[in-house]
């Protein structure tokens, strides 16, 4: 899989979500986005059976 492009993702999503990111903050936001992508890769590396449900519970 292609490496996650944190800077490109931040640029695209900020525009889409209407988030104005000051240029001085951008490096920090991108660094955090990259850290989050590394966490997602750690989670994705754990094989889970398709029957495993999300842990959220809703009781009507």
């Amino acid at each position: 899989m292609k490496d996650f492009d944190a800077a490109g993702h931040v640029e695209h999503m900020a525009d889409l979500l209407g988030l104005a990111i000051d240029p001085a903050w951008k490096e920090g936001v991108v660094a955090n986005m990259a850290a989050t992508a590394r966490m997602a890769a750690l989670v994705a590396a754990v094989p889970l059976d398709e029957t495993v449900e999300p842990a959220m519970v809703f009781e009507p």
């Binding site: 920090g28 936001v29 989670v43």
Partner: protein
């Protein structure tokens, strides 16, 4: 013993004196308010001191005691993290933005229950902005500092809770713990801290951080205080839809049963790899005191921590999305960049983390078929110097702020009850905490272990002598 000296004792001792008439709740409240007045400017614990309310509550306690009532927390002065609603005070949750809101019109459920048990609220305390923090630092209110060494962090995000109890300004504090925010300041400030089972205590009328992971609980200077508070705070509450209907656990009643029947093991693998020398020594010290020799592996721990990170950043950022759109410049710079990136997390990443939570729950449940208690470090190191930006963990240089909680996150992710116990290693100037982890809904087991450690002197939580 003067009233001021009595403040250095645990809450249950203060309650004993008030119930027996040796001390009045009013005199204790006055002494606590004097201690806050004397020390708060230096340590940054309180953001709102509720002096008038404290004296009024104390007068009611004295009247109830005079009428013959025995109250479990009679006259015990306590603080609350400033994300709890306190009637008449704006709930700032560590932020600048939320102080534009009107004052709260009713106390949080847990504050109402503390009052019914005789405790006296002395104020609301400092916290990391919107609880996204492990340091106790805050750009708007200043840092809550470590009473054992004010050049160091209190730990967060319940930083003012740690500072106020370790400094003897309050005997107890109520904090919140999403990823470690009770256990981290307990470790850094040398206190006992209880993170109950997820869903055990009502979160009604507190400002949320991460709905899937938020817990509330006490910090104190004795395990008995934690047990008294847990007994006082449990129970159904129609105002909290996330509260899970379970029979209450009898914390104090089971307190003196010892640990002879318990199978206690130390967490290896992930929980050793990132631990500094003090953390490893503290776990070994507690294991030795309990005669625990077995080690267990928890292979899912690293992924569990990563999943907690994902859920935290996405849910909290979604909660703050409008504020991020309109007032990003008013956030604490240390939380702002994290919230902004959290708003951009793909749904598939978030849902994979929620599915991993179910798998991690199953993995821990399986482990608890062969052990009753797991010991793990609470933090990788003792309190850091204020302003520390990076730390060494397992040979890598990492940002300090998100990594202080690497050992607490996998446990709260699964919602397990934990008591953090404070260890003072021989010759050490600073304490460090160890997590005593019990099966879901068995806070009584973790509290029994903490009490044995406390009574043997293996762990202790003295008021700071600074």
């Amino acid at each position: 013993m003067t009233v001021a000296e009595s403040l250095t004792r645990p809450g249950h001792a203060i309650a004993g004196d008030v119930n027996s008439g040796r001390l009045s709740a009013r005199s204790v409240a006055e002494a606590a308010l004097a201690a806050i007045e004397a020390g708060n400017a230096r340590l940054g614990a309180f953001t709102d001191v509720t002096a008038e309310r404290a004296l009024a509550e104390a007068a009611r306690v004295d009247a109830r005691v005079a009428a013959g009532e025995k109250l479990p927390l009679a006259g015990v002065p306590y603080s609350v993290k400033n994300l709890f609603d306190v009637e008449g005070i704006t709930t700032r949750a560590g932020s600048k933005i939320n102080r534009d809101r009107p004052a709260a019109v009713r106390d949080a459920t847990l504050i109402e229950r503390m009052g019914a048990a005789g405790a006296v609220l002395v104020g609301a305390v400092n916290m990391g902005e919107y609880a996204y923090d492990f340091t106790g630092e805050n750009a708007h209110d200043g840092a809550s500092l470590n009473p054992h060494d004010p050049s160091r962090m209190s730990g967060g995000s319940s930083g003012g809770s740690g500072t106020s109890v370790a400094a003897g300004m309050a005997a107890l504090s109520l904090g919140s713990d999403t990823n470690g925010s009770i256990r981290v300041p307990a470790s850094f400030c040398g206190l006992y801290g209880l993170k109950p089972t997820f869903g055990r205590l009502s979160r009604a009328r507190t400002f949320p951080f991460v709905h899937s992971l938020d817990h509330l609980g006490p910090l104190a200077r004795s395990p008995r205080d934690l047990a008294l508070v847990l007994d006082a705070l449990q129970g159904p509450d129609a105002d909290d839809s996330a509260l899970i209907a379970r029979p209450p656990v009898a914390a104090v009643a089971n307190f003196a049963r010892g640990v002879g029947d318990l199978r206690i093991a130390v967490a290896g693998g992930y929980f050793r790899a990132g631990a500094g020398p003090e953390a490893l020594a503290a776990v070994a010290h507690v294991a030795k005191a309990l005669g625990a020799t077995r080690e267990v592996e928890i292979p899912i721990a690293a992924a569990a921590r990563a999943a907690a990170y994902l859920i935290t950043t996405s849910e909290s950022s979604a909660l703050h999305l409008d504020r991020l759109r309109g007032r990003a410049g008013d956030f604490d710079p240390d939380t702002r960049d994290r919230f902004l990136s959290g708003a951009m997390v793909p749904a598939a990443w978030y849902l994979s983390a929620q599915r991993l939570r179910a798998a991690a729950k199953a993995a821990f449940a399986s482990l608890f078929e062969t052990v009753d208690v797991i010991l793990a470090p609470a933090t990788p190191f003792p309190a850091l110097k204020s302003g520390t930006r990076t730390v060494e963990i397992g040979g890598a240089t990492l940002p300090a702020r998100p990594n202080i909680g690497i050992f607490t996150q996998p446990i709260s992710f699964v919602g397990l009850p934990v008591v953090a116990v404070p260890v003072w290693l021989p010759g050490a100037a600073l304490p460090i905490g160890v997590q005593v982890v019990a099966p879901a809904w068995r806070e009584d087991i973790a509290l029994r272990v903490a009490e044995v450690l406390h009574q043997s002197g293996a762990t202790s939580a003295p008021v700071a002598q600074t």
